[in-house]
C-alpha cells in the first residue's frame, strides 16, 4: 500500500517534470521559429501577407479604440477623484494633474491597454489558431510547405507592435481628459491650469518609456496567444482551455514584464 503510494508519487513527480521540461523546450522552439520567420520576412518582405497585417491592425487597433478610450477615461477620472479627495486634506489638490499625468503615462496607461489587448487580441489569436488546428488547416499549411508561424504569427505580431503603442497614446490622452473632467467638476480647477501642470510633467522621456513598454507587451501577448493556439487540444474543449490560458498567461506576463521594465527604468534613472 505504502509502496504503491510512493511509486505513484515518484511517477507523478517524474511525469510532471517531464511535462514542464518538454513544455519549456517547446516554447523555446516556438520563439526560435518566430525569430527565424521574422528573419525570413526581413530578407524577403514579399513573403509577408500584408493584407493580413491590415486585417489585424483593424481588429486589434481600430476596433479596440472605443473600449480603450472608455476604460482609460474612467480610469483617469477615478485616479484623479481618489487623489483629489486625499490631497485636498493637505491643500495639495493642484498636484492632481501632475500625479495623474505621471502615473498614467508611465505605468497605468500602458498596463491598462496591454490588459485590454490581452483580453481582446490574445484570446482571439489563441481561439483562431486553435480552431484552425482542429480543422486541420495548420496541417494543410505544413503539407503545402508553408511555415505556419510565418503565415499566422508574423502578421499578428507586426499589427500588435504597431497598434498597441498607438492605442496607448490614445489611452493616455483620453485618461488625462478624464482627470481634467474631475478636476473641473469636483475641484473647480480651470482647464488651463490643469493642462499647464500636465504639460510640465510631460517630459518626452516619460512618454516614450511608457509607449516603448507596450512594444514589449505586444510581443508577449502575441507570442503567448499564438503559442496557446498551436498547443491547443484538437477538440472544442481544448480550444476553450487554450483561450483561457492565453488570457491568464498573457496578463501575468504583462504584469511581470511591467515590473521588470520598471526596475530597469529606475536603474537607468528614469
Amino acid at each position: 500500500m505504502v509502496r504503491n503510494k510512493v511509486k505513484d508519487f515518484v511517477t507523478g513527480v517524474g511525469r510532471g517534470t517531464y511535462d514542464e521540461v518538454s513544455g519549456a523546450v517547446n516554447r523555446i522552439g516556438f520563439v526560435g521559429d518566430v525569430v527565424s520567420a521574422v528573419a525570413e520576412v526581413v530578407v524577403s518582405p514579399r513573403k509577408l501577407r500584408w493584407r493580413d497585417v491590415l486585417y489585424y491592425l483593424d481588429l486589434c487597433g481600430r476596433k479596440s479604440v472605443p473600449i480603450v478610450a472608455a476604460i482609460c477615461f474612467l480610469m483617469g477620472a477615478i485616479v484623479a477623484f481618489q487623489s483629489a479627495f486625499q490631497m485636498r486634506k493637505y491643500g495639495a489638490e493642484l498636484y492632481v494633474a501632475d500625479l495623474l499625468a505621471f502615473s498614467l503615462l508611465k505605468e497605468l496607461g500602458p498596463l491598462m491597454v496591454a490588459v485590454i489587448a490581452t483580453g481582446r487580441a490574445g484570446s482571439s489569436f489563441a481561439a483562431e489558431i486553435g480552431t484552425m488546428k482542429v480543422d486541420e488547416e495548420i496541417n494543410a499549411l505544413e503539407t503545402m510547405g508553408i511555415k505556419p508561424v510565418r503565415f499566422l504569427v508574423i502578421p499578428k505580431l507586426l499589427a500588435m507592435m504597431v497598434s498597441l503603442p498607438l492605442l496607448t497614446v490614445i489611452g493616455d490622452v483620453v485618461g488625462i481628459l478624464g482627470g481634467l473632467t474631475v478636476a473641473q467638476v469636483y475641484l473647480g480647477m480651470p482647464a488651463s491650469t490643469y493642462m499647464a501642470r500636465t504639460i510640465d510633467v510631460l517630459v518626452p522621456s516619460v512618454f516614450c518609456m511608457g509607449v516603448l513598454k507596450t512594444v514589449f507587451f505586444a510581443i508577449c501577448i502575441t507570442l503567448i496567444g499564438c503559442h496557446c493556439g498551436f498547443a491547443a487540444g484538437t477538440d472544442a474543449q481544448g480550444v476553450g482551455r487554450a483561450t483561457t490560458r492565453a488570457v491568464v498567461s498573457g496578463i501575468f506576463a504583462v504584469v511581470l514584464g511591467d515590473a521588470v521594465l520598471t526596475l530597469i527604468y529606475m536603474a537607468w534613472g528614469y
Binding site: 486541420e136 488547416e137 496541417n139 505544413e142 503539407t143 503545402m144 510547405g145
Partner: protein
C-alpha cells in the same frame, strides 16, 4: 508492359505517438497511376499512417521514400521541393475561412511560383473549373456545402499539378450522389494526369468503384493483414475480418454499374 515507377516506398515502418507504436513493420509501395486505398476498422491507425506518409509526423522507425527521396531525411529546401510534388485533401477540406475559394486555391501558387497575380488567378480558376466550382470562386468556405468544400480542397491540392495525391476520407459525410461524383472526379484525375493517388476510406462504394489496390490494417496485429485488389479480396480473402469488412451491405446498383463502366 513496363511496370510504372514507384512513387511511395515504405520499408519496415513503425508509426505511433509518444514512443508507443500503433502500427509496426509495414512494407508496401504505391506506383504511378495507381489508386491505392488504406482500409481498416475505426482506430486501427489509418489516419495516423496517412499523417506519417505526408510528413506531418516522424516515424518511430523505418523508412518512407517518396519519388526515391527519404521523406524524413530531407530538410529545408529539399523537403519543401518534395512536398511541392504532392497534394493533400483533408476530411473537412481544411480551407482557410478568411479567404475566398479562389484565394485558397491561389495560395500555393503565391508561395511556390513567380506567376503574376493575373496568371495565378487564371490557373486557380482553371482548377476550380475542373471541380465544377467556377461560379463559387468568390464565396467563403462557410458559404458553401460540405461536398463543395471538399472539391475546393481538391482544387487547391491540384493547383501545382502534383504527381501524388493523398485523400483523407474523401466521401465521408457526403450523400451517395455527391460521393459518386467525387469518385468519378478522382478517377478522371488519375486517368488524365497519371498521378498516384492514396486514399484513406471507409466507403465500400469508393473502394470497389475506383481503388486499384488496398492494404487492410488491423488494430489487433498492429500491422497490415492483407494487400491486394479489393474486388478479389472480397470473395477470396483468407482472412475473416477482411471478407466481413468488404462484404458489408449498402452497395448500390449505380456503383456496380459505375465500376463496370470503368472496366
Amino acid at each position: 508492359m513496363e511496370t510504372p515507377e514507384k512513387v511511395i516506398e515504405v520499408t519496415g515502418l513503425a508509426v505511433g505517438y509518444g514512443g508507443r507504436a500503433i502500427l509496426e513493420d509495414m512494407n508496401f509501395e504505391v506506383r504511378r497511376g495507381e489508386i491505392f486505398g488504406i482500409l481498416g476498422g475505426s482506430g486501427c491507425g489509418k489516419s495516423t499512417l496517412l499523417k506519417h506518409l505526408i510528413g506531418l509526423y516522424r516515424p518511430l522507425s523505418g523508412d518512407i521514400r517518396i519519388f526515391g527521396e527519404a521523406l524524413n531525411g530531407s530538410g529545408g529546401k529539399a523537403r519543401r521541393n518534395l512536398m511541392r510534388r504532392f497534394g493533400v485533401t483533408y476530411q473537412g477540406g481544411a480551407l482557410f475561412g478568411s479567404m475566398t475559394l479562389l484565394e485558397n486555391v491561389m495560395l500555393p501558387l503565391e508561395e511556390f511560383t513567380a506567376l503574376s497575380a493575373a496568371e495565378r488567378a487564371e490557373k486557380a480558376m482553371a482548377k476550380l473549373g475542373m471541380v465544377g466550382l467556377t461560379d463559387f470562386a468568390d464565396y467563403l468556405p462557410a458559404e458553401i456545402s460540405g461536398g463543395m468544400t471538399k472539391r475546393a480542397g481538391l482544387a487547391r491540392a491540384l493547383v501545382l499539378d502534383p504527381e501524388l495525391l493523398f485523400f483523407d476520407e474523401p466521401s465521408a459525410g457526403l450523400d451517395p450522389i455527391t460521393s459518386a461524383g467525387l469518385d468519378k472526379l478522382i478517377l478522371n484525375l488519375r486517368d488524365q494526369s497519371r498521378a498516384a493517388i492514396v486514399m484513406v476510406t471507409h466507403e465500400l462504394e469508393s473502394i470497389f468503384s475506383i481503388v486499384d489496390r488496398v492494404i487492410v490494417l488491423d488494430r489487433g496485429t498492429r500491422g497490415i493483414i492483407e494487400t491486394g485488389d479489393p474486388r478479389v479480396m472480397r470473395s477470396h480473402s483468407g482472412n475473416d475480418f477482411v471478407r466481413e469488412f468488404l462484404n458489408r451491405d449498402g452497395m448500390t446498383r449505380e456503383h456496380y454499374e459505375y465500376h463496370g463502366e470503368k472496366e
